[in-house]
Every structure is written in C-alpha cells, then in structure tokens.
C-alpha cells in the first residue's frame, strides 16, 4: 500500500512524498510540521492545496480509507459513555460492527491499563486517554496506516512492547511517527525525515550528513558538574549530556571551533583538570540539532540506528519497566522509564542489539543524564550501517 502526500497547508508548509510499508519518523518540532502531517494523513484536516491518498483514495473524503488508519493525536477524543470500555466498543463498531469486546480488554491488558477500562472517559486525563487510545489502536487488525504522535511520551505504556508491536505492524502497514526526539528514531531503527521550516527535507542517507557543520566533543575532567553548569549558559553550546557516575560529558554545538573554544575557556576559567577532549561522530546529534533548528541548511538524514529489538518482550507479555505508580501508572513525563542502551552485543550483521535487561535499566533524569551510554555511542556502535 502507498500513503501519498502531495499537499500544501500553509505558506511555505508542504509535503510531497510517498510512504510504503515500514516505520518512518517525522522528526521536528511537533507543532511545526510533523503533527500537521499526521493530521492530514488521518483525514482530520484537509490540505489547503493538493491531497493525501491511501492507495489512490483521498483520505479526507473516504471513510473506507480512514477505517484502515489508526491515528493517535496529541489530545484524542473518547465518546462520553459510561465507561472507557463502552467508549472503545463504540469506536470499534465503526470499523467492525461484529467485533468482540474481549479483544478490547485484551488490548488494555497488554498495556497494563486494564484498570482504566471501568472508568468514565471524562475522568481520564489527556495522557490516560492517549494511553487508552494507543492500546486500542495497536490492537486493531488489518491496518494499513498507523499514525502516532509522540507515543513514547505516554507514561505507563510498555515501551518494549510498543516497539515490538510497531515492528510487527510495519511489515504490512505504513507506520508514521511524529516526534521531536531523535532517540525515538534510534529506538525504532527507523528512517527519519527531518522537518525544516515546514518542509520535509529529502532523505539522502546518513552519508548526506555534514559533520563539518556540527561539533560534538567528549570531555573527561575532574569536575564535570561545574563544567556542565558553566557550559549550559554558553551560546556556542547546544547541549551538555552528563551521564551519571562518570566524569565524561558530551558537549554539542553548531560550530566546532566556537564549541572547542567555549569548552577550553570554561576549563581554564574554572581551573578544572582536563583529562581528555575528543571529538565524536555526530549522527544523532545532527538530527537533534536539526530538530531545534540549529543547523542551517542541513540535509535530512535517513537514519538507521542499526539494531533490531529481537530480544524485546513479546507484545502480549509486556510489563512496565518501572512498575506502576500510586495509580497503577508510572509518573508522567518526557523521559521513558527504560532508556535503550547499547549492551555491546552484535547481531549477525554486525549491528548492535539491545537486550531486555539493558533496555529496562531505569535512569533518573534523562534531560541531564540520559544513560550510562549515550545516544551518540549508540549511533557510533551501530553507525557502520548508516554510514
């Protein structure tokens, strides 16, 4: 099947692309393109010009096409019925009038949110509604298109099971994810198109990246916390990642020369002992920078993280990595409970494989300490294929 865009939805905002079965990520500030693309693809909105089709049928005006599309938006709606289960049954009846309610309950149980089934839809918060809808949509059969907006931000959802299910679906369906996190692309081992100024840039493969426009340095020193604080306010620095229990920082910026000067300047100023300063490959960092609009004129990248979640838990046997919170839910937040970290194992093709154990390692604060091994290392470990 083919999901084809030939659409313009505003001044300078356009997409002209065809997607076949597989996982595709739309990377960019969500409100500046990716969300809109999903909205067009599910028929929620009509493009100002052009059209979006599924196997030649215009999605906006074809209920038959929309029935084959699963869409999870940023703030989904549930019918205001007596219970969430009843609401899902009603939605399910649109696609399949003879569907059984047991299948819906199974879907909720897989995501470990069966307890929400008895609550009233109006009692659910936005995140809970998203979790319920995600569980329902991923349990649907015979889908041709799956459109998910930032699914990894939904707390309480089993991340491993989600990845596994998306890979299952991708064998027969177009799976399109909107995200502003390059880690999500890496997590799925997906191809990514980068949004820049409202346009989906043409994927050119990892070789199209231009590292010369970008800088990433690994700094090992005796006072990483002080250095982090000093660098965070420096305009030449884009991000500072500080894994826990190490003395190594990864510092990124758009201009390598300015970046190195900023690092060395801070080290001199603070009187910090520098042990090592090396530049590192930049696949993931380039994508992250592109998301934040910090790399001008960067080509989009088809990014391949290089691993396959072969050892992830099966879809039906998933469990929440961190366990339920007080409400049976993990805390809500950007950071998933399990950061996928490269364990050092390789598959037959020489690609890095995560293990269930490493995938479930919890981290304390992703914004400041993503994991013991950073996304850059993941990209490095798997980068052979992408390059």
């Amino acid at each position: 099947m083919t999901l084809a865009f030939d659409a313009v939805w505003g001044e300078g905002f356009a997409i002209d692309r065809k997607f076949e079965a597989g996982i595709h990520c739309l990377l960019g500030t969500l409100s500046e393109g990716p969300e809109k693309v999903l909205s067009l693809a599910c028929g929620e909105q009509r493009p100002a010009h052009g059209r979006v089709t599924l196997d030649g049928r215009v999605i906006y005006s074809s209920p038959e096409a929309r029935m084959q599309i699963a869409y999870l938006g940023p703030d989904p709606w549930l019918p205001e019925l007596g219970s969430v289960s009843a609401a899902l049954e009603m939605l399910d009846a649109i696609r399949n009038p003879h569907a059984s309610s047991s299948r819906l309950l199974d879907s909720l149980e897989r995501m470990q949110i069966a307890h929400l089934g008895a609550r009233r839809p109006s009692e659910l918060g936005r995140h809970e509604r998203r979790a319920v809808l995600l569980a329902y949509l991923l349990g649907l059969d015979s889908l041709k298109v799956v459109l998910l907006c930032d699914p990894f931000t939904i707390a309480g959802v089993n991340q491993l099971a989600l990845v596994e299910r998306l890979h299952e679906l991708a064998s027969t369906a177009v799976v399109l994810l909107a995200t502003d996190q390059a880690e999500d692309v890496q997590r799925l081992g997906a191809a990514a198109g980068v949004f820049s100024a409202g346009r989906l840039l043409e994927p050119k493969g990892a070789h199209a990246l231009r590292p010369s426009e970008y800088g990433c340095f690994r700094v090992t020193c005796d006072q990483p916390q002080r250095l982090t604080l000093a660098l965070q306010n420096n305009p030449a620095v884009h991000s500072v990642q500080a894994p826990l229990h190490t003395s190594t920082l990864e510092v990124t910026g758009t201009n390598p020369e300015q970046l190195s000067l900023a690092i060395l300047g801070a080290i001199n100023e603070l009187g910090i002992q520098l042990y090592n300063l090396t530049d590192v490959p930049v696949q993931l960092e380039v994508l992250q920078a592109a998301v934040r609009g910090r790399v001008d004129g960067m080509y989009a990248a088809a990014y391949h993280a290089g691993w396959v979640a072969q050892q992830a838990q099966p879809w039906h046997a998933g469990s929440s990595p961190s366990g339920p919170g007080p409400t049976g839910y993990a805390p809500i937040g950007r950071a998933p409970d399990a950061q996928m970290a490269y364990s050092g194992q390789l598959d037959a093709g020489g690609r890095a494989l995560p293990t269930a154990a490493t995938l479930q390692q919890p981290t304390t604060d992703v914004s400041s300490a993503p994991s013991a091994q950073t996304p850059a290392q993941l990209g490095t470990g798997a980068g052979g294929e992408g390059q």
């Binding site: 028929g43 929620e44 909105q45």
Partner: protein, 226 residues
C-alpha cells in the same frame, strides 16, 4: 446507522445537561419578560399570536444559533474531525449531532409555547386550538432554524457563516417582499398570522418552509465530505 448514533453520543459532550438547563432558563426568562411587556401594553386583548411571534421570532432563532455555536464552535468539519478519523462518515455524525440539537431546541421552544399559552390568557379562555397551532408551528420553526444554522456552520474556517446566516434571516427575512422567500423568518411570521411573504397563503408558506428545510439539509449534506 452507527455513525448517527456516534454523532448523537458525541454531541452529548458539547450539548451537556448544564447547557440545556442554562438555555432553557434563558428562554423561559425571555418568555416571561415578553409576557410582562405584552401585559403592560395591552392587558385585555387576545395576544397569543403576538407572544408566539416574540417566542418563535426572537427566542427560537437565538436559541438555535447558540446551540449550533455550542455544537460546532470551530465549524462543522473541524468539530467532527476527531471522530471522523476513526472511519465514521461525517454525514452520519452530522445527522446524529443535528438530531440532538433539534430535539433540545424543540423541547425548549415547546416549553416556552406552553408557558405563553398558560400565562397569556388562552388557557383561561379555553383556546386549546391556539396551543395546538402554536405547537406545530414551533416544531416546524425549530427544524427550520436548526437546519438553517447547521448549514451556516459549514461556512468559514471558524463557522463565521452562522453570523452571516443570522444577519440574513433578520435583515432580509423581516420584509414581505420576494427577498424574504429563502429565509425562515418571514414564513414563520406568516404562519402566526403576521404579514405574508410575497403574498403566499399560509398553506403555501408551510409548504415553502418545508421545502426550505429540505434544501438547507441537502446543501449541508452536500457540503459535508463523507
């Protein structure tokens, strides 16, 4: 059929019980206000038609306009979009949602009509025929105005069409010329014993209003993508 039911259920989240209570309360208050004004102006005359003209000519349009605004605040298509993404037909959803809007508005207008009948002196005079006539005109008017403003909701990215339709009905529908033919106001006025539109008799006005309802609904359906 499921789409219609889904539209009915969906509209419940927009047209809540609180909304109907507030609307009904406002309509009742306006009706009582009209009764007081009319009583002061002509305490002894038979005034059922004047009061019904006030109810159906002022309260009904405003009520149906407000109901359509509450139901489709961002316009017809944008408001139905979140459900349509699940594969439901927008036309079915529109029908279900429209039925809820219609039933609620009709109930309120009928309530106002009964209040007019009871407090306006017709009940004491035993003039139950007036109640019967007022009832069916109220129902016809509620259907006409609901269909009219549903059509208006389909114009404009923010349903600005509703304002235009309200203005057209007030400005052009108030006259007795042929310009008033496409709008509900003049025909309702005619049915209540007021000035006729283009010299149409009351049966012809009824027929015209019925045809207009079909046209409004048909146009709304055509404009609404599946």
């Amino acid at each position: 059929m499921n789409d219609v039911y889904l539209g009915w259920v969906w509209s419940r989240s927009r047209l809540t019980r609180t909304w109907w209570i507030q609307s009904g309360g406002a309509a009742l208050a306006a009706t009582l206000f009209g009764l007081i004004l009319e009583h002061r102006a002509s305490p002894s005359s038979s005034r059922i038609n004047t009061l019904l003209t006030f109810t159906l000519g002022l309260i009904l349009p405003l009520l149906t306009w407000a109901t359509a605004s509450q139901l489709f605040p961002n316009g017809l298509f944008a408001s139905l979009a979140p459900i349509a993404t699940h594969g439901a037909s927008r036309r079915g959803l529109l029908l279900g949602a429209g039925l809820r809007a219609l039933s609620g508005a009709t109930a309120i207008v009928l309530g106002s009509t009964v209040v007019v009948f009871l407090l306006g002196g017709s009940a004491r005079a035993g003039n139950f025929g007036a109640l019967l006539i007022g009832t069916w005109i109220a129902v016809l008017g509620a259907v006409a105005y609901t269909a009219w403003f549903l059509l208006g909701s389909s114009f404009g990215s923010r349903a600005q069409g509703r304002w235009v339709f309200l203005a057209l009905d007030w400005l052009l529908g108030s006259s007795a010329s042929a310009l008033a033919l496409p709008w509900p106001r003049g025909h309702l006025r005619n049915l209540l014993g007021g000035e006729s539109v283009a010299n149409l008799e009351q049966p012809a006005a009824t027929l015209t209003l019925t045809l207009l309802i079909l046209v409004y609904l048909g146009l709304t359906c055509v404009r609404t993508p599946r």
